[in-house]
Symmetry: C2
Subunit: 239 residues, 2 copies
């Protein structure tokens, strides 16, 4: 039987500070929970509203629909809620490209960017401390399980960039077209905040200012950060 | 003064059938309304909750905050609501690339795709009849005004493709890598439904099956339709 304290714990994990405190995060939905189990992440507890929704697992607890609703962050909980231990953060390497996010705030954008890193085989994603938390429920929903294959590290981005010897790429309106740019084997690609782009402090550390050429009317809004990331990772990998 | 009938009309325009019947659509927010006015679309009526929020326009009506709330589709209306005549659909041309959508259902995806077409100078976007309506409030919000520069045409996509002499490109898991593909000057790029991809009937009309190479784990979910569109339009334009 699920206890009141367990329900309270699960609900508390909707807030970043309790996720960090307990080292736990919540995933909902049979598909995503299944993917995270398959990826080998260690579950703390799984809750289901019918027996046998998830097989081959011991720490499973059948709860009533109303108990699940109390724990869920969704208006229509979908039958399976998993509480997982956060994976250990791995050391980044310098032999390949890394993506770094400077204050990306939208959970959907972060989820899409994690999924893109996974697609393009980018193993490490560095996030500034003011980037949205990757264990936010909306981010997890958008990553479609890619979170288990990309090492997401939150750190002081300015400090991290000051210490690297890798070339640092950033996108600017007046940058050189990325089509004619020689792409090195390894580097850091910085993607900026949705409204303000790359911050002033970090701009000064960018060694290669690039641009994605625009072909339409000059009054067009700049590309969304997730679509720009898609284009740039494709450019890196196509070589 | 705003009449009850006017409020009723504006509210009815939240439904596609009334938008089609009246040839009108609604845009909210000072920035987007301003963009649509600047692009030269003809307004039917503008409602504001304070005088002088939008300048230089005659058909402007100052309403109370509660009247605006009645008309708005937003939980927090932001002061300006414009009702516009839908632009006339223009004839598509065959001298450049066209994007065609086969049952794209998510308003955010359609909005992002319209914005991408604008960025990459794609003038015509063909939508199957079961693609989400481009005058849906959520689509308009995501297009950031690009809707005024891209000609969006809803038509029987199968019939349209049967009649074209242009090469028809579509993305498939087993397609040829787009990096080595010769890209013609003009063609049609088909993007499929979020869950099911390109439908069987339309698949048979595709003349060039392409793929965006994957560099990560083979268990990765396929790319989201909007990020795939970003990568493919970039491939077309970079040549």
């Amino acid at each position: 039987m699920v206890t009141k304290n367990q329900i309270k714990l699960v609900v508390s994990l909707q807030q970043k500070k309790y996720r960090t405190q307990h080292g736990l995060f919540v995933v909902e939905g049979v598909k995503t929970v299944g993917e995270i189990l398959n990826a080998g992440l260690e579950p703390f507890k799984l809750f289901v509203d019918e027996p046998q929704k998830i097989e081959n697992f011991n720490e499973i607890e059948v709860v009533s629909k109303s108990e699940l609703k109390q724990m869920s962050s969704l208006s229509n909980p979908n039958g399976v809620l998993g509480v997982f231990y956060m994976p250990k953060v791995k050391k980044t390497d310098t032999a390949d490209w890394t993506v770094a996010l400077d204050a990306v705030r939208d959970p959907g954008n972060l989820g899409t960017i994690i999924r893109l890193c996974d697609w393009f085989g980018i193993k490490h994603l560095i996030c500034s401390m003011d980037t949205v938390d990757c264990y936010n429920a909306k981010v997890l929903q958008a990553t479609m399980g890619s979170i288990t294959r990309v090492n997401v590290v939150y750190t002081d981005l300015l400090d991290y960039l000051k210490k690297t010897s890798l070339p640092i790429f950033g996108t600017f309106m007046n940058g050189d077209t990325v089509y004619h740019k020689k792409i090195p084997k390894a580097g850091i690609m910085i993607m900026g905040n949705e409204a303000n782009g790359i911050s002033e402090e970090i701009k000064n550390l960018v060694t290669e200012k690039i641009a994605i050429p625009q072909f339409g009317s000059k009054t067009t809004e700049s590309l969304n950060v997730a679509t720009a990331t898609a284009i740039l990772l494709n450019e890196i990998r196509r070589g």
